[in-house]
């Protein structure tokens, strides 16, 4: 029998290939979009943090960044618009052993899902929220969002945005989040470290990540994808523990990045168990002692 010798060059595997559904790659995100970088940084952080990935769930809402739940090879759920945090809250309360990561966009978390965010932070639900802020509604065609900077152009504000945008870290802090940070997709190593820290931290952690949207935001504001990254590089001021009320995004003055808040506060489950399930608390304590 003739021997078949095929010297096929085996395609090398990317180090994160074991955490993504490779059959769905290339993903739908546009060329130059920063969500892919934030997603890969989040996966690297999941690996680095050493948490049990079998007990980790990624939840996302609607929008471009909402697609992340479909690409990750963990338990994940793509929820309805704005309801990523309530779904994650339910998951956490039903099974407190799970590590919950909410990966979503600014429109989903802060416009339609704004109230859910505030109340999850107030209750101090134990979860990590990563908000990819691309400054507009990218998926629906670049309409003005709650985070679009003052005077920036969008489909619905062709002469400039007359509204004042949200200061997301201030809102998270005021609502009661125990970990608040902001990075851009260019500061990838700091971002990965920050996500790792947030994953290992108990309580509500919030990380805002600025990311370019070249097709819908950049095109209308005369910014090529690389211009946006250069702007991040020039205008970034890294200032840990800065005052949250001074963190407005203003590209003229400079954008302040860093880890702003790192507190310890009892989580919702701890409070709930103390009042309504003292037996479970005792079990946990005796379980720890034995």
């Amino acid at each position: 029998m003739q021997e078949i010798s095929v010297t096929s060059k085996k395609q090398p595997r990317h180090p994160l290939d074991d955490l993504i559904r490779t059959d769905r790659i290339p993903h739908i995100w546009c060329p130059g979009c920063g969500i892919g970088t934030v997603f890969s940084s989040c996966l690297a952080a999941l690996k680095e943090s050493g948490i049990d990935l079998k007990k980790t769930v990624m939840v996302s809402g609607i929008g471009c960044s909402g697609r992340a739940a479909g690409y990750v090879k963990l338990d994940s759920f793509h929820t309805t618009h704005g309801r990523a945090i309530p779904f994650a809250t339910g998951l956490k309360l039903a099974n407190p052993e799970l590590n919950i990561v909410v990966f979503s966009g600014d429109g989903d978390l802060f416009a339609i899902g704004g109230n859910h965010f505030i109340h999850a932070a107030r209750r101090n639900m134990d979860m990590t929220v990563i908000c990819v802020n691309n400054l507009n509604y990218g998926m629906t065609g670049g309409q003005v969002a709650a985070t679009t900077p003052y005077m920036a152009k969008s489909t619905t504000t062709p002469a400039g945005n007359p509204e004042t945008p949200f200061n997301l870290p201030l809102m998270a802090y005021a609502s009661g989040a125990t970990y608040v940070a902001r990075w851009t997709m260019l500061h990838t190593r700091d971002l990965t470290d920050s996500i790792t820290e947030a994953l290992c931290k108990k309580g509500f952690s919030f990380i805002e990540v600025l990311s370019p949207c070249p097709v819908n935001y950049g095109r209308r504001n005369k910014q090529k994808p690389l211009d946006m990254l250069k702007l991040y590089q020039e205008k970034a001021i890294i200032k840990n523990h800065a005052d949250p009320s001074k963190l407005d995004i203003d590209f003229e003055k400079g954008i302040i990045l860093g880890k702003f808040i790192d507190l310890d506060r009892p989580t919702f489950i701890e409070h709930y168990d103390k009042i309504y399930r003292p037996s479970r608390l005792q079990e946990n304590v005796s379980g720890l002692n034995s």
Partner: protein, 95 residues
């Protein structure tokens, strides 16, 4: 790598070397890896990939120091580097 003056502790410092792997068919040609490579070791290829984009190509493979920055900034999981077991130039110069 050229040194303006050879550092005094050059014999104890190990400069790692890397080999860049590019998964061409995943690339969408954003050029972030090319722009932000600290050693300028990458360039747009003149070839097209399956989707019609120009993927990057390594033009100076000996310059790669395995910093992984192309790997972490790539939004497409299309480029990564692994450590090469070559000896560093300083060591070669000293032997």
């Amino acid at each position: 790598m050229e040194f303006w003056r050879v550092p005094l502790d050059a014999d104890t410092i190990q400069v790692s070397r890397g080999i860049v792997h590019i998964l061409e068919d995943r690339c969408k040609g954003c050029g972030y890896c090319i722009e932000y490579c600290p050693k300028q070791a990458l360039e747009f290829s003149t070839n097209f990939n399956q989707k019609g984009y120009h993927p990057p190509v390594v033009i100076k493979p000996e310059e790669c120091v395995n910093c992984h920055y192309c790997e972490i900034i790539c939004p497409e999981f299309a480029i990564f580097s692994v450590e090469s077991l070559q000896t560093t130039e300083v060591e070669q110069a000293r032997t």
